[in-house]
Amino acid sequence: MDLGTIFDYTLIYSTIRASTPILFATLAAVITQQGDILNIGVEGIMLVSAFSAVLISYLTSNWLLGIAVAMIVGVIMAMIMAVASIKYNADITAIGMAINMLALAVTKFGIKQFLGTTGSFTDPKIAGIPRLHFGFLEKYKYLNGIFNNWSLMEVIGILMVLALTFVLYHTVWGLRLRSVGRLPMAAETAGINVKSIKYQIMAISGLLGGLAGAHLSIGYSKMFIENMTNGRGFMGVAAMFFGGANPVLAWIGSLLFGLIDSIGGRLQAYGWPSQFVLMLPYIITILVLSVSLWRSAKRREKMKSSLLQK
């Protein structure tokens, strides 16, 4: 086995590329988790948005419009969840799973109804989200390989991580959101409208889920295939847990997925049984989650220890 062709510089960009579809889902889960809502419906939001993005981009040949509509559709889906869970007290997990199911069904007959085909749809008329190409980088092999030709969405993804961090920890709204997620009574008594904030984060989650979907269908690829999210929303939720709902840590979680995925793809080529390579990201995530919790439990215990005091 030639390790050089597995761990070379192209792995850096391929990690970014493979992690971005998960990253948006991760952030969609992070923002709601900050308000104590486990948004397991990201998967479905993504799927419907991916479909809308392709549909609009195909009909108008305008990728911006595609993204915009994907985001609107994402918000609509999220609002269904929000109304059901906030106004009508529905179990958020149940609603999330129902939304996922709804998304699968709706897109299935959506393809047939609006695109006149089944299963999958691709067409040259679909306008894709552009890539950022810098001519001056071409001279340098490594810089070119790592930084050139990023998809616009990959850049936006990272900007989103920074933006979310900023919003959560430096703005008024972020402070209020964090208090809502941790002790809603405190927020309520500070005159903060807890429900309104919960609706807001669900809406933002819908926007991010919409971006996630749009990236999937007109950014990362230019097609729509039934169930093309294929668990990426769930992976996003896992990455969110990994990062304890902190945007930067959760981003690292999704990068980890991307990295393992990329390495896995390369390892397979050397004859590893495909199934074992394919299950690696899942196993490693479980391991990392367990180890990090085990360690933090230990650390907390140590910190709490009375023997170390005085």
């Binding site: 085909t117 691709t122 295939i225 793809g265 199934q275």
Partner: protein, 342 residues
């Protein structure tokens, strides 16, 4: 035990004939049962195309049932048989056991199995020598990867292969592909990946890009929906791919060297035709190998047009030569366990 259902075929046929103004004679009723969904631009779509040709040519009545769930495959087959369809075509190897189990329960119904073999007086099986077609694809890929005059082709002797689910029939493809490549150049390195699913184009794309980054210039897909991602990766990375099942050459012209066509459409058309013409004979197996035109490579004309004079003309020439050798038996292509001539 299907007597209790006798009323059903009657009334549904009534509905359908009422909408049918054609000649008084009853239309032949054909059902196609898939083990997945249409729209894969490969295996299933190909069968669908064949069936549609039969609809055009013979005016048959066609019912298609798609499903991904094995439990539903079985009940779909049984339901179609109970409904009294004249011919039930099962489009996938996966129906082998289901047919073996249920065909005897419906002795008056004709069954056909595409891409698999099941014995039975009312079953016609068709299989393909995908290994032979893949042999040619492998040879073409092996030659192509060193043609540095073609843009973005490096001198490295590395080619790729991306499969959908890791199931036996895909290995039959791979065995041929590998043998073909090694036939051209024993030193060639072949990267093999499975996406683990037939409908995750993103995964297919990622795997393909990984293979490109490991030096492959051309990657064959045998991956149904996942394969869409393989082809897209070729276009995006400005590299090359090989299509499968149907002629995928013009999906991204100039990036798909050729396609290994499996004439599922022909197989479907032929079995319907045999029933129309009354030549259907149960308990037979049609082995559609390269000799019978069951598998073949496309003529690379799309690629030729795209590359112009950079197109390596020696490839189609060599492939034509190899094709003859395979046909004549001079080259014997290996098959994966459970496949090949029986």
């Amino acid at each position: 035990g299907c007597s209790s259902q006798s009323s059903q075929p009657a009334d549904s046929s009534k509905e359908e004939t009422s909408g049918d103004n054609a000649a008084g004679s009853k239309k032949l009723r054909v059902a196609l049962v898939y083990s997945g969904f249409l729209g894969d631009k490969s295996f299933n779509d190909s069968a669908h195309a064949g069936a549609m040709r039969a609809v055009n040519d013979f005016g048959i009545e066609l019912k298609e049932l798609e499903s991904k769930e094995p439990a539903e495959w079985e009940s779909n087959v049984v339901a179609m048989a109970s409904e009294g369809y004249d011919l039930v075509v099962c489009v996938s190897t996966q129906f082998q056991d289901i047919l073996a189990k249920h065909a005897p329960e419906f002795p008056d119904i004709k069954f056909a199995l595409i891409d698999g073999v099941t014995k039975g007086d009312n079953i016609v099986s068709t299989t393909f020598a995908q290994n032979e077609g893949s042999f040619l694809a492998g040879a073409a890929a092996a030659m192509f990867t060193t043609k540095t005059q073609v843009p973005n082709v490096n001198a490295d002797k590395v080619i790729g292969w991306v499969g959908g689910m890791d199931i036996p029939v895909l290995h039959d493809f791979f065995v041929g592909y590998e043998q073909g490549a090694k036939y051209i150049d024993p030193d060639i390195k072949i990267l093999q990946s499975f996406a683990g699913t037939f409908n995750d184009p993103l995964k297919g794309k990622e795997l393909t890009l990984a293979q490109y980054s490991q030096g492959a210039d051309i990657v064959m897909n045998v991956a149904s929906g996942t394969g869409m991602g393989v082809l897209e990766a070729a276009k995006e990375a400005d590299k090359y791919a090989i299509g499968v099942d149907m002629n995928q050459d013009d999906v991204y012209p100039g990036h798909i060297l050729t396609s290994m066509v499996k004439r599922v459409d022909n197989a479907t058309y032929l079995v319907i035709e045999s029933v129309v013409k009354g030549t259907y004979k149960g308990n037979t197996t049609e082995y559609l190998d390269i000799n019978k035109g069951g598998v073949s490579l496309t003529d690379m004309s799309v690629m030729k047009e795209a590359l112009g004079d950079k197109f390596p003309q020696d490839i189609p020439e060599k492939i034509a030569e190899l094709e003859e050798k395979v046909k004549s038996g001079e080259i014997k292509v290996n098959a994966y366990e459970g496949f090949g001539r029986k």
